[in-house]
Symmetry: C2
Subunit: 232 residues, 2 copies
């Protein structure tokens, strides 16, 4: 039976930019599961109506539907216990904290840096939806947000301050090997990389070497996916 993964795409079917879908893409690769990507756009609510809600990621695993990246991670560890995404109950609990921290700190800061490039990369049919929902969320026009993108970069870099000491002591956020917490933090980097050539990190930053390691995982799948190269 086929495992299908509805993933947010931009103008091209293989411009996969959603940070939350990247969590699932990495988790599926971590498990060694082959998945069929179903490209999806924000306005294609009907295509995922079977999930009872309107956002991706959504997976269908041989007839079993699961949506929400966290629920999918928990489902995968239950259904496919080999190569766990969480190595215990505490790890799952602390990864949940990490998820909230990433969403509240990194996602917003990254959005401000890449917003103009992101908008330019959307499928034509998603632009009005994106403009309306994001301008409402941020209380500014996309153009006003985009004008601040250069100034937003130092704030983004500062959000990584509590992560850097870990990456000096160990290769991954999760320790000696990557796991779901790494995929949570990697999501916004692939969001950026898929739509923008902006240079986010300097090579002497421990975050830079970590991102390189992440791009090399799964035979380089994250690096090979459509996007801009990392400039050193």
């Amino acid at each position: 039976m086929t495992l299908r993964h509805w993933e947010l795409a931009g103008a091209e079917d293989d411009r996969l930019f959603s940070p939350n879908c990247w969590r699932v893409r990495m988790a599926l690769a971590h498990k060694g599961l082959a998945a069929q990507t179903v490209p999806w756009r924000f306005t294609e609510k009907d295509a995922i109506a079977f999930s009872g809600q309107g956002l991706v990621p959504v997976i269908d695993d041989g007839g079993r539907e699961v949506h929400d990246s966290w629920a999918i991670a928990e489902y995968l560890d239950e259904r496919y216990p080999d190569r766990p995404l969480f190595d215990g109950a505490q790890a799952r609990a602390l990864a949940l904290f990490f998820k909230h921290w990433v969403e509240r700190n990194v996602h917003g800061a990254m959005f401000r840096v890449i917003v103009a490039d992101l908008f330019a990369s959307l499928h034509e049919k998603d632009r009005a939806y994106f403009r309306e929902t994001r301008e409402k969320r941020f209380g500014q026009t996309l153009e006003a947000l985009g004008a601040g993108s250069h100034a937003a970069l130092p704030a983004l870099k500062a959000t990584f301050d509590p992560v850097r000491p870990l990456l000096v002591a160990q290769p991954y956020v999760s320790g000696a090997a990557p796991a779901f917490a790494d995929y949570l933090l990697f999501g916004p980097f692939q969001w950026a990389r898929s739509v923008s050539p902006v240079r986010l990190l300097e090579p002497d930053d421990p975050m830079y070497a970590w991102r390189e390691r992440m791009l090399d995982l799964f035979e380089g799948m994250p690096r090979a996916t459509r996007g801009y190269p990392v400039w050193a």
Copy 2:
């Protein structure tokens, strides 16, 4: 053999206010280890010179010296593997992130709220040291910091935003049972409680119920230690 724990004390030997020492105090109780507290003041560097540095917590476990709260936690899990503080390698890695997050976000915000009460609770002989080191660190006089303490409370409460969703879903930061990550976050609350009657949390805040559960641990040891009651 006796396990001794050098703990920072205020004017009274049993006013134990250091957030980092509270981590160790809770970790020792978690392990069911009896420890003898050695009250210590900032200026008693000679008393812990045997540790090769000048800060507490320091423990001496039957001749084995360990300092630094994180190193002590790792030592305790290695030496006393029952009732682990970390249930696996990922949990330890993510707790290290949590430690850095607590120190960078909660400690500074808490300090601004309690600074005047904290200074008033110090042993007389520590006051000049404390003033000099803290005024240098914050770039302001203690009086200027203290004047902003009321205004600093909303900022402190906002730092808990990424923690609250966890505490709605589960009783402790670490999941179903408390572990080292909980002690990391509880440290600054005991820092406040030991020196200040300030009302930090409202009863409808999920953080409030968590703090109540923490105060009840180990037969109520944290609540029974000298400090101010929590006002509801």
